[in-house]
């Protein structure tokens, strides 16, 4: 299976919180990084998602927000990945930024070149990737 999403995270389901229409699923990656997704209850059933089950999370890079110097700022985005900029690929208007997390996963974001400058992003700089849980698509391995 090949997929256009730049972020593909394989891991194990370590939590499921049910709601009426939606449910929150926690995925723990091999290095210990965790990721939260909001999916429908119908999907939970269709995929048979449960604690201990293997799953894959997909996120398109343009859906990821990058920030630096968070200080006391806090965010509703359930996924706040603090790491270090490892790769920076510049295009004409946008750049792709790869942020290496403590558990060794890399999160890719596509942001404007203007933002890259404003945030002073370059290899080795500390940065945080924000991913809203409702933007994560879950799957089960092929």
């Amino acid at each position: 299976m090949k997929i256009s999403a730049r972020n593909v995270f394989r891991g194990a389901v370590t939590g499921v919180t049910a709601g009426a229409v939606n449910a929150e699923v926690e995925l723990t990656l091999p290095g210990g990084d965790t990721l939260v997704a909001i999916v429908t209850e119908a999907s939970i059933r269709a995929l048979g998602l449960a604690v201990g089950k293997e799953a894959v999370a997909y996120v398109k890079a343009p859906w990821v927000i990058v920030l630096t110097g968070a200080g006391e700022a806090r965010f509703s985005a359930r996924n706040q990945f603090a790491g270090t900029v490892e790769r920076l690929t510049r295009g004409a208007v946008n750049s792709e930024v790869g942020i290496r997390l403590p558990g060794d996963a890399v999160v890719f974001a596509v942001i404007t070149n203007e933002a890259v400058m404003e945030l002073g992003l370059e290899e080795g700089v500390e940065a945080t990737a924000l991913i809203k849980a409702s933007h994560v698509i879950l799957g089960t391995p092929a």
Copy 2:
């Protein structure tokens, strides 16, 4: 009314599942393709959405993920549109891919040129478009 979203699907509401804050709405397009949207209960009331009512679904092309060779892989995205690549418009960094569905609707996705190559996309290739239900905006006709 003119709108910047590349995907505009007109159809009839064929299902509404209520929740506390959100509801799931199923839209059936003229050719039989179906699409699921998650909207707030407040929107259900404001738009008067109910089974049998006409509605329009809007999705921006960068919100669509494309995949090939799904095999046994399954996904939480409620909208999984298997079809055939009909159009491919390349830009400097991204391409627009049009996937024709069995019911004749066309779904447009914007993905990176890198992904186009990795997936081997070209006219006539079978591919699937994933659209998360919570990314769909519903409307009623002007």
Copy 3:
């Protein structure tokens, strides 16, 4: 704190509607424009969001849909910002459109150049920005 999201709206929480997993939060900006976000209940607690509390809403420009001549058309997107095009920055494929709202906030959208032409967007034209509540990330100030 610096962030890659092009839309950063500071305001005061003027409403919170709780659900099982998600909650709807209304933010009122200094000029009176209001914005609705859907975030998880867990985030409501983590950020201590409550009526009267200061908060910041973040939205990436590619999440914003632009439309003109809405007429009788209605939309599920909780955020429908009618205003006037104030800025238009063209790239090779996409343009950034800034829409000034009555309360003086500016909403930025990234849309295709094709859409800019179809909608006849230029400075001074009336246009509406649609933002789905579930695409808004909330934060508390640094």
